[in-house]
Amino acid sequence: MSDQILAQPELAAIQIDEDSEDLSRSDVILKGALAAGAIYGAVAVGPFVGRALAMAESGDVGILNFALTLEYLESAFYEEAKSRAGASGDLKSLINTIARDEEEHVGALTETIKKLGGKPVAEPKFDFPYSGTGGFLKLAQTFEDTGVSAYNGAAPQIKAKEVLEAAGSIVQVEARHAAAIALQNGAEPAPVAFDPALSEAKVLKAVEPFIK
């Protein structure tokens, strides 16, 4: 808040990209630029702010929105599975646990995007083509393994330390889900010593068939 008050007069003088409205001044990168602006004058930092905004848009906010899309998918999948997967006993409680986790991930990512001044993507509509408990488990495995690889692929590109911490804390939980689902599937919980990383394009291609 204090940054905003301090920076307000400078901000008015700085040329900002048209689509930057949805980026708040709380953005970590921008904050530094504005602090510099207060010292060196708005004109000097103008171009830097423009760059910082562009990076935030395509950078951390972009990555977080990508992650949010995946979490929407998982959240919808497990929520639906509560009544559709035909699960009982251990699997039933596992589904409840995972559904809760994925919902919390959606909430946390949405909040973080807003805090960075970004706009959270809208939840897509999904369609999950499976039948029975076996079909559910197979698809669950796909989603969890893809989720782990998606976070592992995107995380090294994250710029803000806090965002990286959040992503790390989520990916570990995805990995735990993946292992638990694998055990239910009669598969190896940790099939390889190094979880592979997957590019955003590959991940989106993998989940595309489930988005209406």
């Binding site: 990168i29 990076m55 596992l94 646990t97 986790d101 994925e102 919390e104 991930h105 946390a108 083509p129 499976y130 079909g135 197979k138 698809l139 495995q141 796909t142 989603f143 393994d145 690889s149 592992n152 692929g153 995380a155 090294p156 590109q157 710029k159 803000a160 330390k161 990286l164 911490e165 959040a166 790390g168 804390s169 989520i170 990916v171 570990q172 939980v173 990995a175 735990r176 889900h177 993946a178 292992a179 638990a180 694998a182 055990l183 598969a187 190896e188 919980p189 940790a190 099939p191 390889v192 010593a193 190094f194 979880d195 592979p196 990383a197 997957l198 590019s199 394009a201 590959k202 993998a206």
Partner: protein
């Protein structure tokens, strides 16, 4: 049924050759190790961008293992040595048979791969790999050993999570993350065997700092 008609997602993921930043091309198994190191070894020139997450000059608690990323990697290496030795001892103990033994062997072999990868990494960065510590573990019953295994794995996962934001090189970070999630998988599998929650911290895993981790493993290091 797009998914059902294809091989498992994992094999597709595993065969995906390269991520867009050439971070990892790991398919597991010993032959993957060279590829892993080749793909990850580009941080040695250490032209660390100021925009890279983490670092910032703050203490990581890993300084006694070396400077910066080398120190963090050597700290991780020490933990991986410990895990490898633990599983070796457990296999030898004869306390496990059948599928539990197979799981323990599998996890142990993965920890050994982590040791190899981290050793190679430290060397590539011009550092000196941390020595293998002498270890001793209480191996009384299958139950207590499984509990210790779960403790160690949960701690290991938390240790990687705690260091990830301190890592400066993007390739080093990518490598650490690819190990981190495997430690998370181990932890969840062991928790399942014990009938414990797979996510003891809830939806967001908690990190552990180096000081806390080293203190926890101290009783098992005898030299």
């Amino acid at each position: 049924m797009a998914v059902e008609s294809k091989p498992s997602a994992l094999s597709r993921v595993a065969s995906d050759p390269v991520s867009r930043r050439k971070l990892l091309a790991v398919t597991g198994g010993s032959t993957a190790l060279a590829a892993f190191l080749a793909a990850c070894g580009s941080d040695s020139d250490s032209t660390t961008s100021t925009m890279t997450a983490g670092g910032g000059g703050g203490a990581t608690g890993t300084e006694k293992f070396g400077k910066g990323d080398v120190g963090i990697l050597n700290y991780a290496l020490t933990l991986e040595y410990l895990e490898t030795a633990f599983y070796e001892d457990v296999v030898k103990s004869g306390l496990f048979k059948g599928s539990d033994l197979a799981t323990i062997r599998k996890f142990g072999s993965e920890e050994a791969e982590h040791v190899k990868a981290l050793t190679g990494f430290v060397k590539q960065m011009g550092g000196k790999p941390a020595p293998k510590p002498k270890t001793e573990f209480p191996l009384k019953s299958a139950k207590s050993v499984l509990e210790l295994a779960a403790t160690v794995e949960n701690l290991g996962a938390a240790a990687y999570l705690g260091q990830a934001p301190n890592i400066k090189g993007p390739s080093t970070l990518a490598a650490a993350l690819s190990i981190h999630s495997v430690e998370g998988r181990h932890a969840a599998a062991l928790n399942t065997l014990l009938g414990k929650s797979i996510v003891p911290d809830g939806a967001f895993a908690k990190p552990a700092g180096a000081e806390e981790v080293l203190k926890s493993v101290e009783p098992f290091i005898v030299g």
